[in-house]
């Protein structure tokens, strides 16, 4: 009897213990799930515009987050350009840590100083190390991708400390980083990811009106095609055939894929036939993603493939049937890397890009997919076409965003949206009555495009709020704000007029030459890039003439004074402030960094001839910006702050981008490394 009672008691105690243990575990799960951090990066969301919309009550979800925590302007980088700004965020530090100062840097060892992509480089397989096989060759090394961003990245420390981290398209992060640690890491590359040709993305536009045989414009190629019997054939040009030995006759033979377009004699419909795929499109329609294989044509390709040498390169494109009658016109997107079968890695792990595609379909993989260049550089496209392309892109991203929220179980999720930025670049003039480029015929037709994009972002933020738990942290941030780009300043022309730059021939002879007309033996300074300004320094630049030391510093002091004093015809300030890199970024790499950065006044930016690697010298100092690219942010950085909205209170009322990385680490109790100069914003409020 006693035994039975003892056994019964033991059983009850054991069962109670087990049930208590079980209940305490489930309690822990229910009440203390691991806190998550969601960071939404909205490129180009402007603090002023957001404040207006909040005041009008149009952004309920952002208002809700702000009411729980904080909404403040977020100090941006100098220069306030996306590659620089996002690098500040990633590294928790200023440009003299990550060494990215513009979209383009220049090579001081070349004459003239040639520009190159500041974020990354893609090098095809080396032909010097290859096994020759007749007219073919088997490269012994693959192509390489290099990131120029230096310094730490906040995710390295998260993963090292066991925090699962997923990053969607943070800019200035190509090639995909390898990260060591006990946390899971997945990352899809964003701005800086090249197309299959290794560049920012080149569209192709086929038209019977294009110049014969073709014409290069910035960002693409216009190709003439002959339409006979309602059919036309076109060719998509890929990268060089890396398995074919270059010959004297054709040193860079490119891979090609032909396609045919057939239209109905009367109806506005056409058929694209490419590599056994048939796509039927109504006039004005876009195709889905079409995978195409650039075949190298090497014999016995299965054997070569078995040696792990690719014998074809896969790209994906979308066709847009611009017009059927009277002119058959077809636009083809840049050759995007196929996420399912990537020719170059675009994600970590390599399968991550494909997994996203399997769940939500193929998608744009180039870094900046909105084709502003086709809109700006061809007459065939208009704003409605561009908005249509942006819609397709945003719909792709929204699908991925929803999937990412669904998959978000713990750790950190960063998701990037670039639509607000690109729409602001193109449609800012429609909200600026004083912009000289406004089209009277369009009136206010596009006046609400930017506002609508803000409202859509707010709706998407609302979806995130629905998916989050009470103890989760959400941060909505942007890298910079915006301002109207009404006028361009021809900085190199100013240098010529003020005797700092000399040309070999008359200024009119300088068009279409990349500094080819510059007399470097008599040139003290030059401008290249959106905000970058270089001194032709002896010992650093190939043909440098300005001596280091006193001559260098006094020249810079002189230039700062003169540039800040520049006024336009109406007496308005053109340059708000000139930043000397040796003063604001003392650890800058002199072979990479500019000597000075020009912070333009509101309404101004460097002119097109100065900003992009054209090296042209217009005769006038100032020009009205009549380009469709009408909003920008190449100003003094305090004029175009970004935004920070979070459901937590912050301890610093003047946060900057470089505080974000340390803040993310601080949330998980991780101390920032010494290279991170930013400070956690939540203080003890962990």
């Amino acid at each position: 009897m006693r035994r039975t009672r003892l056994a019964r008691c033991s059983l009850i105690i054991a069962l109670t213990g087990i049930s208590l243990l079980g209940s305490s575990q489930s309690l822990a799960t229910a009440n203390d799930p691991s806190p998550r951090l969601l960071v939404l990066g909205i490129d180009g969301m402007d603090a002023g515009v957001l404040r207006e919309l909040l005041d009008e009550g149009k952004m309920p979800n952002i208002a809700h987050i702000a009411s729980q925590g904080t909404f403040v302007p977020l100090g941006t980088s100098m220069p306030p350009l996306s590659p620089v700004a996002w690098s500040n965020m990633i590294s928790g530090a200023e440009p003299d840590t990550h060494q990215i100062y513009d979209f383009f840097h220049r090579n001081p060892d070349s004459v003239p100083p040639l520009p190159y992509n500041a974020m990354s480089d893609v090098i095809p397989p080396a032909t010097e190390r290859a096994i020759p096989l007749g007219r073919w060759q088997i490269p012994l090394t693959g192509g390489t991708q290099t990131s120029f961003r230096r310094g730490p990245a906040f995710w390295e420390y998260l993963v090292e400390n066991g925090i699962n981290t997923t990053i969607y398209r943070i800019p200035a992060n190509y090639p995909p980083p390898e990260v060591q640690g006990s946390g899971d890491f997945a990352c899809l590359c964003g701005m800086g990811t090249p197309d299959l040709l290794g560049g920012y993305g080149e569209f192709t536009f086929f038209s019977p009106d294009a110049p014969l045989p073709h014409s290069r414009v910035s960002g693409g190629t216009l190709v003439y095609w002959f339409v006979q019997n309602h059919r036309a054939t076109g060719t998509l040009r890929g990268p060089p055939n890396f398995l074919l030995k270059p010959s004297k006759k054709s040193p860079t033979k490119k891979l090609e894929v032909d396609f045919e377009v057939i239209r109905d004699p009367q109806a506005p419909v056409a058929k694209v036939i490419i590599q056994d795929q048939v796509i039927l499109l109504n006039e004005g329609e876009w195709s889905d993603w079409v995978p195409i294989d650039f075949e190298t044509g090497i014999p016995a390709s299965p054997v070569v493939s078995a040696l792990q040498v690719p014998t074809s390169l896969r790209a994906i494109v979308r066709f847009h049937l611009r017009q059927v009658h009277p002119k058959l016109e077809v636009y083809v997107t840049p050759l995007n890397i196929d996420p399912i079968e990537p020719a170059n890695p675009i994600s970590t792990p390599n399968s991550f890009a494909g997994r996203i595609a399997e769940l939500s379909g193929r998608y744009y993989t180039t870094g900046i997919p909105q084709d502003t260049k086709a809109l700006r550089n061809t007459d065939a496209f208009n704003e409605d076409w561009f908005l249509g392309q942006c819609r397709i892109l945003l719909d792709e991203r929204i699908k991925q965003y929803r999937q990412a929220l669904e998959d978000f179980q713990d750790g950190v999720l960063f998701f990037y949206f670039g639509t607000v930025d690109q729409l602001s670049h193109i449609f800012w003039r429609d909200r600026d009555p004083e912009h000289p480029g406004r089209d009277p015929e369009q009136g206010d037709r596009y006046a609400n495009v930017i506002e609508d994009s803000y409202l859509e972002m707010d709706q998407l933020i609302g979806e995130a709020l629905d998916a989050l738990r009470p103890n989760d942290t959400v941060m909505v941030m942007s890298d910079h704000g915006f301002s109207s780009f009404r006028r361009g300043f021809n900085l190199n022309t100013w240098l010529i007029q003020n005797g700092y730059m000399k040309l070999r021939q008359d200024i009119e002879a300088s068009d279409d030459m990349l500094f080819g007309n510059v007399d470097w033996g008599q040139t003290k300074a030059y401008a290249l890039g959106l905000n970058s300004f270089y001194v032709n320094l002896r010992g650093r630049e190939k043909r440098g003439i300005v001596n280091p030391g006193e001559a260098y510093t006094s020249l810079m002091a002189e230039l700062v004074k003169k540039l800040e004093a520049v006024r336009d015809e109406k007496g308005q300030k053109v340059v708000e402030r000139v930043y000397r890199v040796d003063q604001v970024h003392p650890n800058a790499d002199p072979n990479v960094a500019p000597d000075m950065m020009i912070g333009y006044a509101l309404g101004y930016r460097s002119s097109w001839a100065t900003a992009l690697p054209e090296g042209r010298f217009p005769t006038e100092l100032f020009e009205d910006n009549m380009d469709r690219w009408c909003g920008d942010h190449g100003n003094a950085h305090d004029l175009v702050p970004g935004i920070l909205v979070t459901n937590r209170k912050i301890t610093n009322n003047q946060p900057t981008l470089s505080d974000i990385g340390p803040t993310i680490l601080g949330l998980y109790g991780i101390s920032s490394p010494s290279e991170m100069t930013g400070r956690p914003l939540f203080g003890d409020n962990k």
Binding site: I262, A267, K271, V278, L280, L281, N282
Partner: protein
Amino acid sequence: MNALNSILTPIADILLAPFGRLPSQVALIFWSVVVGIAMAWVFKHTSNQQRLKEVASCIKAQLLAIKLFKDDLGVTFRCQRELMKATGFRLLHSMPPMLIMLIPIALILTHLAVRYEFRPIQPDESSVVELTLSSTHWEANKDLQLQVPPQVEIETPALRDHERHTVSWRIRPTAPSVTPLTWTIADQTVEKTLVVSDRPGLLHRVSPQRPGSNIFDRILYPTESGFTSDSPVQSISIQYPRNSSPIFGLDIPWWATFFIVSMLAAVATRPWLKVQF
């Protein structure tokens, strides 16, 4: 060929019917095993087994000799010559059964192809339908209309290609169904079956083409009767997406799975069937 197809198609349907609710790979593996065993049996009864056994013994002997006299180059070379000769004989004696099995295997493959090469269109997925007219009927019928059931939308007007005598449409089904697309030409109604499914992993009979009078097309697309040579319609095709039937996570083509599994099955049943390959 139409008559043969009309017999074989229902037989294939009946044989595959038990697998209708299972992943399509199950039927492929099952029938690969069955075909492999059947091939071994046919091989046994249509080949000279006695001679093949002698050849196999000879090969064994030569291999043993090479092993034993590996230091004697003369013997090694002579054995290798004999090995090559024996292999040739083995091939020669394998020819009659292979020729006998060629046609049945080809027919089996074509019936498997319409179930494994393509997958059905999924609801809300677009596809292109193309009808080819004969050149003599082109002018009179090029403005023909496609008639679709309510669950299928036509997304484009007809695209008439005067050079290839084809008329194309883009369609988008909105719900799963196996339904005919119809056209009326010269008082005749012609049809092409459209297969739409939201469960593409199951077994479906998906024929991308209703063929014309070409014999090879009729062999390749056996499930719908071919048009006669004097028919105004020469063929009708639907662009179905390529199928993927991964086995144990490996995305190998269905025909490779078929050959590998059937050969393994044939080799595995060799001791019971007492067959010499």
